[in-house]
Symmetry: C2
Subunit: 476 residues, 2 copies
């Protein structure tokens, strides 16, 4: 059954949560007293609908229903997850939690997006704080997997486990912070860097642009995949981590950072930072910057996904849980592929690079392989099909963000041979391209052609027998 989440507070963070739930098939109730809330949510949702489906090579579940509510009571009724993202004031948050607890189902998880407060602070004054914990996400919430999950001793273990399960099902990575602390983990690092950055600007050493370049052309690239310690482990080389620390640890005592003090946020310093930031990015609107950021993140995440590593491995794991059913109908065209074209697939003419048509048809062939039983286990056992010939006809253009689907036919299925024909359509059933593809069954060890397993051959022959009675799809 479709689950429902309540989003209390619909700013950039609340809106990002809302999009995560909605695009993963949850219904969402929104409560936000701001009269601008619906407009703001619409903007975030537009970005999220553009971005999140591009991470995946399968269709996400059908989007849930969004309901705008006029009270907290209305929003939290019948929900399994309630996410609070109101402004960062402890008294306000505590007041909101009191209201939520009164009306929420007893077993609903109540997460707070707080950047800094400890869960025990949020739980103060609640008669039943079991289900209230910190679930601190990172902007853009619909793309970044990290969520710091911070319980207090008042949260039973099974509540923490349910929370982890739900967050994982949304494609997020719940980092269980085992000991509560102000600002959790990640924000402590962000604060340290932010403070050092303000000093460098105040002292006239570097501008915002120079600082950003120092990050994104250097250690930012390292941190997108390995973080700090694994990077340093490598730097330590064969002698290991202890060697690295004894070599570089002493630098900590050197005057390399402004340890002792916080720069005063004078109007002058604020203006200095703001005008440098204008000079750096002012030619682009916030909307343009958001789109740029999202497209960059999609590209990075997809590249890590292709390597099945770091954050990309999380996406692959999530994708496994939403793998669509194989085509159930084989007595006509088989529905093999349904997906969104990601932004990194377009060429300088602004339409999908021709090589991707081949990839889509190759994915369609994979689905047919799985349908006849030549699945991942089968490949691990040392047998597979290789494509030896493909002919693609390009009939119309396709762009990033388009939803396409593929119908596939088995033209021939006998012995080592499997001949397929694919038709690729857009949302309006316009034919975009066709592909005729010959595959040969091979033994992966000898790298030579061989007969498939009898079960596979039987399935294939059965489908081919049906499909050859259909009108030849190549003539359509």
């Amino acid at each position: 059954m479709t689950q429902t989440a309540a989003i209390i507070g619909g700013g950039v963070i609340g809106g990002g949560w809302l999009a995560r739930f909605l695009l993963n098939g949850w219904n969402v109730n929104l409560y936000d007293p701001d009269p601008q809330a619906e407009r703001k949510i619409t903007a975030v949702l537009k970005n999220a609908r553009h971005a999140l489906p591009m991470l995946y090579d399968v269709s996400l579940p059908r989007e849930g229903k969004l309901k705008i509510c006029s009270t907290i009571q209305e929003a939290v009724a019948g929900t399994s997850w309630i996410q609070e993202s109101v402004p960062e004031r402890l008294d306000l948050k505590q007041k909101v939690f009191l209201e939520i607890i009164l009306a929420a189902p007893k077993d609903a998880i109540i997460g707070s997006s707080t950047s800094g407060f400890k869960p025990s602070e949020l739980q103060e004054g609640l008669s039943c704080p079991d289900t209230v914990l910190v679930a601190h996400p990172f902007n853009p919430v619909y793309l970044l997997p990290l969520v710091e999950l911070v319980p207090s001793p008042a949260n039973p273990v099974f509540i923490v486990n349910v929370a982890k399960e739900i967050l994982t099902s949304l494609g997020m990575f719940p980092l269980h912070v085992r000991k509560e602390i102000d600002a959790h983990i990640a924000d402590r690092f962000l604060e340290a860097v932010w403070r050092e950055g303000l000093w460098l600007i105040k002292d006239g050493i570097a501008t915002t642009q120079e600082i950003d370049d120092a990050i994104r052309y250097g250690f930012g690239l390292r941190w997108a995949q390995m973080g700090l310690f694994e990077t340093y482990r490598i730097a330590g080389g064969e002698e290991g981590m202890a060697h690295f620390i004894s070599q570089f640890g002493p630098c900590l005592q050197w005057p390399w950072t402004k340890l002792m003090d916080v720069p005063e946020l004078t109007d002058e310093l604020i203006q200095q930072v703001a005008s440098q930031s204008d000079a750096q990015s002012g030619n682009r609107s916030i909307r343009e910057l958001e789109r740029l950021r999202d497209n960059n993140l999609i590209a990075i995440l997809r590249s890590l996904k292709n390597e099945n590593t770091a954050a990309g491995a999380l996406i692959n794991e999530h994708e496994q849980t939403i793998k669509p059913e194989l085509p159930s109908k084989i007595n006509g065209a088989m529905a093999t592929i349904s997906r969104v074209i990601p932004s990194d697939w377009t060429d300088y003419n602004g339409h999908m690079n021709e090589s991707r048509y081949g990839q889509i048809f190759s994915d369609a062939a994979d689905i047919i392989m799985q349908t006849v039983g030549a699945n991942a286990d089968y490949i691990r056992s040392g047998l597979s099909y290789f494509t030896v010939d493909v002919q693609i006809k390009f009939l119309a253009e396709t762009h990033a963000g388009s939803s396409i689907h593929v119908k596939s036919f088995v033209l021939q299925g006998e012995g080592k041979k499997m001949k397929l024909f694919h038709q690729m359509f857009d949302e309006d059933e316009a034919l975009l391209a066709t592909g005729e593809q010959m595959l040969i069954h091979v033994n992966l060890e000898t790298r030579r052609a061989c007969e498939p397993h009898a079960d596979v051959l039987e399935q294939l022959e059965m489908i081919a027998a049906i499909h050859t009675t259909l009108p030849d799809p190549r003539r359509v």
Copy 2:
């Protein structure tokens, strides 16, 4: 003429510099008194040869010559760039600079890889410090573009400009640090995070693994493309950077970081970090971790390259400067493509994804387009060729890291039509695949077929006239 660089000190950093220069076509003289130096350099070079060419979609220049020297004098003679990467001790570095200066050509730039010393400190006691400055790179030096270029007041502006030009020609991004300061810019941030990380471990809040996850699944992904300030500018939304600072600035005064103190590096703390790091990454050797890191970085950098943004835009700019000549011989097969297969192009069978054959043939068609004058300017003017049909034959497997090249033929070139035939070969001239491709000339505004510009058509017809007298390459 081929330029020569001297590498003084061949550890991980010196070796990375060596690889950068060598793979960009420079000759390199290495001086390192360590008897293990050659072995260590070989290991770094192996990684670099695997990694760097994969960033590019063109061939890098022919590798330069490596010479192992037994004295500093021998190493620096006749060089244009000298890079010092000896251990981080000021007295040692100063001694090395004295020796270098005595034997180096007067106009050779002398860069120091120091992480922390100021250039004026390195210049102390030198009679002629003009050419000595800090050029601080980031590991792996052969992949990460950032290099902090820090002059002192003793360096003339033109020396700084020459240094920038040379570093840019190596595909690096010289960040000009305008005011010298201990630890330059990036290392100040790294120190701040490293210190905070050690506290979190010492206080039992988080393990090395948890800290790395907090980075690589969250803000690390943001920083790989935009850095700190542009990210926060977006978070500030339409109200801008000044709004963001006044909202989040006060947190700096909260107890969110261990401002005041440095954890003592007791044996106990060192062991704690080392054993957590073992638990996190100990199942992989340093070599395996290096290869994993490099493959991840290649994937991320290539994804940013495809978006032409952040560090990827730097690679594209560099690639423009090393664009190979268009085929000079048109009276036979045209040499259109010569490249290395990048690691993100292989599928689960371990060989190049079939869609990439289409991409390579599409790139070959681009070269032919440029050869007949349908180049970037021509496309900007609103005219181009679109592929309408391609037939690919897959004859043998190809793997990541392989060098391939393509020979192309114009089978037909008349009116709106351009029909091409491509043959793709491996290093041993084995035929891997062929592609027969029909392109139609279009007007990019009307999206309709039209005749090419007369100059383009004339070139195309001329080549077609020659190629149709050759034996039909499809019969080979």
